[in-house]
Each structure stands twice: as C-alpha cells, then as structure tokens.
Symmetry: C2
C-alpha cells in the first residue's frame, strides 16, 4: 500500500484554539472558586424568551423543513437590510444581503469570492485566528499589517497600501477588533476605504461586534458612498447580538456582483443557511431593539468592571478594550502567553486565550472575552490573579 495523501495546507493548520484552551481547565481543582470562562466570544446571558419562542415555532413548522433560497429567506434579508440602513444611515435593499451559517462562513465566502490559491489578502496582526486559518487552507497568502500597542492596535493605512502594491487583492479587518477590542474610528475606515477604492482592492469589514458600540453612533459612513458595492464587503454575526451562536447565523452585505458569486459558493458549500433560525430572527429583529440596547449597556458595565478590576493589579495592564474583548498585558515577562494562559486555567480557574494564538510578537498579551462573564465574576479576577505567581 502506498502512502495515503492528505492536503498539506489542512494538515498544517493549528488545532482549533478554543477547545485547546478549554482543555487546560480540565486540570483546575476548583480551589479558587468556579471556572471563569473568558475564552470564547459568547454572550454570558441567555437569549430573550421571545427569541427562543420564535426559534421553537419556526423549527417545529413543516413549512421550513424544506430547502430555502440560497441567498437566504427574503424576510431576513429585508429585515437585516433595514437594520443596517438604520444603523449606518444608509438605504440598502435586501438584495445586498446574503445570509450565511455564521460569520466565519461569511468570511470564507467573501475571501473565496475575491481570492484563490496563489492570491493574497492582507490581515491585521494580531488577527482573528480563523481568518488566518481560512486563508491558509485555501492557499491564499496572508500579508500582515501591524496593529501594535504603540498605534493603539490600529492599522497604518500606508501599510495597507503597501500590501496592495505587493499584490494583495484586498484587506480584511475586524472592528470592534478581535482580539484586541480596538474600535476603528470612522475617519480611519474612510481613509482605508479610499485607498481600497483608488487601488481597486476589496475592503472586507467584519463587524460582528458592532451592536455593542455606543448607541446612536454609526460605526462608519461607508455605505453612504456612491459605488461602495465595488469596494466594500461587510460581515456580520447574529450570534452575539441575539445570543444564538448555536443556531449559526451570519450575513454578508455587499454589491450584487459579490452576492451572485457568494451564492455560487454557498450553493456548493451548503445550499442555504438553516432556515428556521432565519425566519425566527427576521421576526425578532424589529421587536427587540430595547433588549439589544439593554445588552449593550450590560456589556459596557462589564467592560467598566474589568477595567476597575484590572486597576487593582499594577503588574497587569489592559492595553485595549472594546465591544467584547480586552487585550491584557500579563506580568509574566519571561513566559510565553500560552504558558501564562495555561497557568491561569489550571491554577486560577480563568480561561482566556494567549496572544500568540493571534499572531507574531503577541506573547506579552492575553485576550479576555469579558462579555462572557457577569460583573460579580469579573470582580473576582483581582484576587485570583494576585495569588498567581507566574
């Protein structure tokens, strides 16, 4: 028998980071109290009862058991287009929306639409590891754009322009950022957009966490630009805002040339996103703006609680904090962030992700997904961290 073949691009991927980090906690003895899981970005409160009712109603209906349209249920495309139009003071039709099975899939589809094996896309460093993994497994080269602490974790538009000049088909950015939490100011996004537009490259903007920005402030004004469809592809997740990551629902907002290509990809990938959750969220979207606003305030309280907690620990420093994540400098100067994160899980019962999972030169940092934990749990952090010797 000859040697069996695997795809080296897949064999070479890292093991999925979140289960790896959660695995460390299996050795925690509980001595510091119950586990505080700050590893994965999941809302630490349940979905609204009305969402659960609507999900149950749609899932138990024979009407949604069959295949649906590839691009998504018309009702959700329309409802989400209205939601985006309101949030960004723009006027978008449902035809600009395609529903995916979560925002990771939205990224896969957007990346595939604009780049294939041998092409390149620019990502920030640090970056969301699944974006890097997706490019790697597709054979798309990654150009790295530094987002260092000294620049408040924001990209330098000149570096993005240089990545384009070196051949990248586009740049994918996450704002509010994962892992750092950094919120990209509208002026910076405008500057990056202008470079993309001028050079004919794509700006893929993952705005999974945009609902947790301060109310009444549009994240950017790019949807008001004439011809944005030729430059901008926006990604979104219903997971965080509606507390339903298990139902896998995301969306792409883009021009019709992108949407028609993504529909071809989606048809091959999985025909259509699961229908029942689409129908439920289409109904929930217009009803729950007060609940979403209350959640935004709760997450803001958690951010404040984390900042207050970390101020008690002079050796630790919150370097950036945003909608869902804080990027924290740990005191273990000689240790790698993975060793520190492992020690936190095993000895302090705190699960978080090491900075080095997010890119080169990130060993000094940890990502705290603080939105997962209530304020009283966050208040336990100083005592646990103070007791920990690294």
């Amino acid at each position: 028998m000859s040697q069996i073949a695997f795809n080296p691009l897949v064999s070479g991927l890292s093991v999925p980071p979140v289960p790896a980090a959660q695995g460390w906690a299996r050795n925690y003895d509980g001595a510091q109290g119950p586990l505080i899981d700050l590893s994965q970005a999941v809302p630490g409160y349940p979905p609204h009862p009305e969402i659960l009712r609507l999900l149950g109603e749609a899932a138990s209906s024979a009407a949604y058991a069959g295949y649906g349209p590839i691009e998504g249920e018309a009702a959700l495309r329309e409802a989400y287009a209205r939601d985006v139009s309101e949030a960004y003071s723009a006027t978008l039709p449902g035809a600009n929306v395609l529903v995916t099975s979560g925002c990771n899939q939205a990224f896969v589809c957007a990346a595939m639409a604009v780049a294939g094996s041998g092409d390149a896309i620019a990502l920030s460093n640090p970056r969301y590891f699944n974006h890097e993994g997706t490019l790697a497994m597709l054979g798309v080269a990654m150009r790295s754009v530094a987002c260092d602490a000294k620049r408040a974790f924001l990209p330098d538009p000149a570096e993005i322009a240089a990545a384009f000049d070196a051949g990248a088909n586009g740049v994918a950015l996450v704002t509010p950022n994962n892992p750092t939490g950094a919120i990209y100011p509208p002026e910076l996004l405008r500057e990056i957009y202008d470079i993309c537009h001028r050079k004919g490259r794509w700006l893929i903007l993952d705005e999974t966490y945009r609902d947790f920005l301060r109310s009444g402030v549009a994240p950017h004004d790019l949807f008001a630009r004439p011809g944005w469809q030729d430059t901008l592809v926006q990604l979104y997740s219903f997971s965080k805002s509606f507390c339903i990551p298990g139902h896998r629902l995301g969306a792409i907002v883009a021009g019709e040339a992108v949407i028609s290509r993504v529909a071809k990809i989606m048809d091959n990938l999985q025909i259509c996103a699961p229908r029942a959750a689409q129908v439920a969220i289409a109904r929930a979207l217009p009803q729950l703006s007060e609940w979403r606003a209350a959640n935004r305030l709760e997450i803001a309280r958690r951010a404040a609680a984390l900042e207050a907690a970390m101020r008690e620990l002079p050796a630790w420093r919150v370097e950036a904090i945003g909608a869902y994540f804080a990027y924290v400098r740990h005191p273990g100067h000689d240790a790698s962030s993975a060793a520190v994160a492992e020690a936190l899980a095993k000895r302090a019962g705190i699960i978080c992700l090491p900075g080095e999972y997010f890119g080169e030169g990130q060993g000094a940092f940890l990502r705290f997904a603080f939105a997962n934990a209530g304020c009283e749990r966050i208040a336990e952090l100083p005592a646990r961290l103070a007791r920990l010797t690294l």
Copy 2:
C-alpha cells in the same frame, strides 16, 4: 480606480442549477394542471410530527443556543455511529463521526482534507454538479470517470486506477447515484476500494440516498475491512431520510486522521453545525425506524409508478432508476437536454434537470427526482409528455 479583482475560479462557476430550472416554470401557464416539481431531491412528504416536536423543543431551549463541539453533539455522533453500525454490520464508535451542516458541506470538508489547489480528484461522468463546482472553486482538478448507459452507469475500476496513476488523490462516488439513480453493487465497491487501498488513494463515498435501498441489504461491507480508516470516507445526509433539508444536517464517517483534519476545516468554516437539529435527530434516530421503513416503501412505490408511467411512452426511456432519481432518455434527438427541460417546464408544467448539467455527453438525458412527487402526480406524466411536441 483600478480594475477590481474577483477569484476567476468562482466567477467561472455555473449559476446554481436548481433555481435556474425552477425559473423556467415561472412561464408555465398552468394549462396542464399544477406544476410537478422533479427538480430538487426533497422528500415529497412532511417530516414525522415527532421530529417536528423534537426540533421545536431543542430550538426553543437556551441549552442549545451556545456554541457546541466542533465535531458535533456527542449524542448525535453516538446515535449515528450506532445507525451506521447496524446498517453495515460493523462496529463504529462515535469518534468516527463528524456532523456537518448538510452533505454538500461534508463533501467540501472531505475534499479539502485530501486535496488542495493543483491536486486532482476523480468524479464520475455524469456526476453531481455541486461536487464538480466544489472542486472547481477550490482549484482541485477533476479527473472524469465515464459511467455510460452501456455500462449501466457504473464506473470501470480500471478507469479509476488510471485516474490514480495520472495523479488523482482519490475518487468521489455517489451511490445510489445522483443523477442516474444507479446503485453500485457491493462487489463493485469492494473492487474499487481494493484499488484505492492498494494505491493509497481515498474513496469518498456519498451515500446520501442509502436509506432508500431495499431493507436488510447492507450497501457494502467496507466498514468491516480492517484499516478502512486509511481508505474510506463516507458521507451522509439527514435531509432526505428525515425530511429536514432546511435544517442542514449531514455527517462524515471516517478514521480519526480524517476527522481531526475535518475538525480544523469546520472550525474555520462555521465552528459547528447548528445544534438544535443535532439534538433533535439524535433523539429521533432510534425512535423512527418504522417510519423510515415506511418511507422507503413509499419511495419504492413511486419508483414503480414512474416506471409504469414511462412504459406508456415508447419514445421516452428510463435508462436507470434508483433510490431517488431516474435518468430518462428523452425523444428530442436534435435538441439539447436543457432545451427539452425548459420546454417541459414551460409547456408541460414538469420541472426536471437536464442531463447536460451533470457532465459531458449527457444531452440525451433528463434527471427526474421522482421521490418528490406522489404516485398520483407521477401518473399524470404520460398524458403531459405525450401532448408535448419537442
């Protein structure tokens, strides 16, 4: 502004075939009676009420709103491993099962695990178009293995061996076949498996329609082979057997080396398959064997009804018929199958897919997804087809 870049591999994909065919029917005036939709493989009867109840129960539970394990819910992996073990007289653990969001995604994951851009995989001709589309968009070359009418639409193992010698990393086959319906005999599968095993290449076996084979007969005995994990990857869909395509649920059965690679792909692709449907089907699986058996009988009745109906039409010929599909030779010798299918939709109110959507040299055929239509609707076909001049 420079020219914007798209991925030519995606731009070059055909438009999704099913919506294209369904689009033809918009011009049907109803003169021949209600539309008979034989285009897409969807069960023409509703899910069992207990499935709907379980789906509703799981979807409305906060317990399944969060992320689940990448590989799938343990309960479904175990339940499906037991189901496969029974059907194939084998003993498989849940660790050999990974749950995907439908069987198209199972194919994407399996293909990516074993082949990347520049590699090759062999497919039959005719073939399921989404398999071809997936390879094309990933930059994986397709080697074509003829499955002609004169060979009863079965592949010649020597041709598969030749494809391997020409560099293909594996062969992906569908049995019962889509589009032809041909059922690959266990001896043929054993012969192909032996070639794969000897040459160290993958046999990807899409058995989406296996529940509609005659009861009590195992589709093959390959899971009983020692070391099957190094050769065989089996794909399955819960969509047809449980009438829930809208919930997007499929599965891969493979060795742990494949499962661990597919888990990396799934994490990037969409973290995990939707959870509520997994939980519901894990509970439904052991309960509904009688209902599944009754459905198998109903589909067999529809197959018999189609054969009887087509015998009334000497100019038309059922060339192959299997679990879900019939491959029918149409009388429009000078017309392309797309023109015939379009005429059927517009003038006879019958939607089916043209053979040429499935590969080269298939212009003489149409695919009838007869499982979609009840026997009384199938009985209407002769009158409608006899009235049609091509």
